[in-house]
């Protein structure tokens, strides 16, 4: 029984790890700005395209850090141009701005690439096939969860033991008061977006090594699922986002194994609704009280 399930579990762990890296970006931004950054999935896709285009002119070892840098710059620019001016506006405006940015990025990518899927370059080492038990899969399936856990641990240490981490925690608890306390809000928010985008870039490296076709809309579904993972794990909790993502990745593949392939995406949304109804703070979130 385990033998037949093993390939599905491996696939689930792999894709769950990739969702986790994207989910971290969502949960960070939501914790601080209370904004669902709809454009995050598209930043993830853009990272994939950066790699495809860079590899044509620059050697691979140089391309990887460049991709991360470019994605970070993109995330930074998006925040400055589209979200900063609306910080004092009602919540709906900034969410609409996020949707607008997502729309713009997708259309830009359609235009530049002509809509044809691009083949992601092969990253040596990660794309090798290996044998685990009775299943054959790519090396990246094993690398992903290990790398994800390492990055999440590093991030949690950053949040809990550094000055900027403390500033981020303060802002996520109370936006206005932390400003009064002398925390430079702009820096904190920029750092949040930078970390989130860097995570998304690394996630894209792993994701596209596994699933090698890059199209402008490839990031939409993973983005949405990563958001559900973030909510499931508890908004504001980074380890929660990772665990939520892994659970979603594994369940998705088990559902496909059971034969209900048409509903594997719908399952994620059903899970979200159940979580929101019965445990809105997620698995590891903190309970907040609404003051009138």
């Amino acid at each position: 029984m385990f033998d037949t399930l093993l390939p599905y579990l491996l696939a689930g762990v792999s894709v769950g790890g990739q969702y986790a890296l994207i989910a971290v970006g969502y949960t960070l931004v939501y914790g601080i700005l209370r904004l669902i950054n709809f454009a995050h999935g598209d930043i993830f896709t853009a990272a994939g395209f950066f790699m495809v285009y860079l590899v044509a002119s620059v050697p691979l070892p140089l391309a990887i850090p460049l991709v991360i840098i470019l994605t970070v710059v993109l995330g930074f620019v998006v925040e400055r141009v589209a979200y900063k001016p609306l910080r004092s506006a009602p919540r709906m405006s900034i969410m609409i701005s996020a949707i607008g940015v997502s729309y713009l990025l997708q259309n830009l990518m359609w235009y530049v690439t002509g809509g044809l899927a691009k083949q992601y370059p092969v990253l040596p080492g990660l794309s090798q096939t290996i044998q685990i038990g009775s299943a054959t899969t790519k090396l990246v399936t094993i690398v992903t969860p290990i790398l994800t856990i390492a990055l999440v641990v590093a991030l949690v240490m950053l949040i809990n033991h550094t000055k900027i981490g403390m500033a981020m925690r303060a802002v996520s608890v109370d936006f206005e008061t932390s400003q009064l306390m002398g925390i430079k809000i702009n820096n904190v928010i920029s750092v949040t977006f930078i970390i989130g985008s860097a995570m998304a870039a690394i996630g894209s490296l792993l994701y596209f090594t596994n699933y090698t076709a890059v199209t402008p809309t490839v990031g939409a579904m993973p983005g949405l699922k990563a958001f559900v993972a973030a909510v499931f794990g508890g908004i504001g909790s980074i380890p929660g986002a990772m665990i939520g993502a892994l659970i979603i990745g594994i369940c998705e593949n088990l559902i496909k194994a059971a034969g209900w392939t048409a509903f594997s995406d719908a399952f994620t949304f059903a899970l979200l609704i159940v979580v929101l109804l019965f445990r809105p703070t997620g698995l590891f979130g903190e309970k907040t009280t609404d003051k009138v």
Partner: protein, 356 residues
């Protein structure tokens, strides 16, 4: 109330003139022309935008599930009105399908709205207890689930699964030569009903909920009951809008009712101004005219003499469009009309005084 009556009459005359203009354009330019296409699609999207505005702008419930209700409405209409003779051909993979009767156009329109409203009532029960962003994502999720179910092979005999639905009565069959008039009439009646609702006590309750939920509850407004009402009514009209869209398109596929359609409607509402019915109507026509007609030249690779104009390639139109939308969202946050109506421009509004 004498001044109110005078305003009402002027507005009605204006509206009648618009209808006449629409009719005239159709007869002069012909049903094939792009103007007529824009008028038809613009009117349909106007209805859907107003229904979304009722929910988002007037009640403050950020819902992204419009595409799902449009889908349900469109499919209900199409399934019930496919002529008996064509059913076998359309449902070719499902031995003719389960539904073996046909009803008229107007009853089917009403059924479309009612079915969408039923779905909304069911969905509203769990979802309306959520707040803000969570409500948005939950409704988005439900829209996707509805789409997955409609495409499901097992109920293919009802919905034709992944295949197109065709041969049901379209705008051209119902009122040939006067398609714009028919669309305008149906849309006009629906928007009129919505306006009546907004100007009633229920409408004031909705606005109270939008402005401050806690205060509204303290004032004795039953939050859940009113939210449910707004949700169901908005979905009823979204369902009718979906049916009209089906009539306009001539063929129907579940795949096109994605979340991107909801985003387009949301953008129309934002451009027009959340909380303004006339704003939504104007923005809808502008949006459709720009995206379908005026900006099409941006997609064609044009060569002037020997010089190939740079940047003009397929897809450029949508990029320009997105940039324009971002500009509106960032710099003209209130949209065209803010939260005022066209007929209130330049007049005092109730007890608030001359607020411009």
């Amino acid at each position: 109330m004498k001044k109110g009556n005078k305003r009402l009459i002027i507005s009605l005359v204006f509206v009648a003139l618009l209808y006449a203009a629409g009719c005239l354009i159709e007869h002069t330019a012909g049903t094939k022309s792009m103007v007529v296409t824009v008028l038809q699609k613009g009117a349909v999207y106007a209805l859907i935008a107003v229904s979304m505005n009722l929910l988002n702008g007037f009640t403050g419930l950020f819902s992204l599930g419009q595409a799902g209700f449009m889908l349900v409405g469109a499919y209900s209409y199409a399934i019930l009105t496919i002529p008996m003779a064509k059913r076998a051909a359309v449902y070719q993979y499902y031995n003719g399908g389960w539904v073996q009767f046909t009803i008229g156009v107007i009853p089917a329109l009403l059924v479309a709205g009612i079915v969408a409203a039923l779905f909304a009532a069911l969905i509203g029960m769990p979802v309306l207890r959520l707040k803000g962003d969570y409500l948005a994502i939950a409704t988005l999720g439900f829209a996707e689930i509805i789409r997955a179910i409609v495409q499901w092979d097992t109920i293919g005999p009802l919905t034709n699964g992944s295949n197109l639905l065709k041969t049901y009565p379209t705008l051209k069959n119902i009122m040939p030569g006067n398609t714009v008039l028919f669309t305008f009439i149906v849309v006009g009646v629906c928007i009129g009903l919505i306006l009546l609702l907004i100007n009633s006590t229920y409408g004031r309750a909705f606005k109270a909920i939008r402005d401050d939920e806690v205060a509204a509850e303290a004032m004795g407004i039953n939050l859940f009951h009113h939210k449910q009402m707004a949700f169901v009514i908005s979905s009823f009209f979204a369902g009718i809008g979906g049916a009209l869209l089906a009539m306009y398109q001539g063929s129907l596929q579940a795949n096109s009712f994605k979340s991107s359609m909801t985003y387009e409607i949301l953008l129309i509402v934002v451009i027009g101004g959340m909380g303004s019915v006339s704003g939504s109507i104007m923005a809808s026509f502008l949006f459709i005219a720009c995206s379908e007609w005026w900006l099409r030249f941006l997609d064609a690779e044009t060569v002037l003499g020997n010089f190939k104009v740079p940047l003009l390639a397929p897809g450029f139109r949508m990029v320009v469009f997105s940039v324009v939308i971002m500009v509106v969202v960032l710099f003209f946050r209130k949209g065209i009309m803010g939260d005022r109506e066209l007929w209130e421009l330049g007049s005092r509004r109730g007890a608030k005084g001359g607020r411009k």
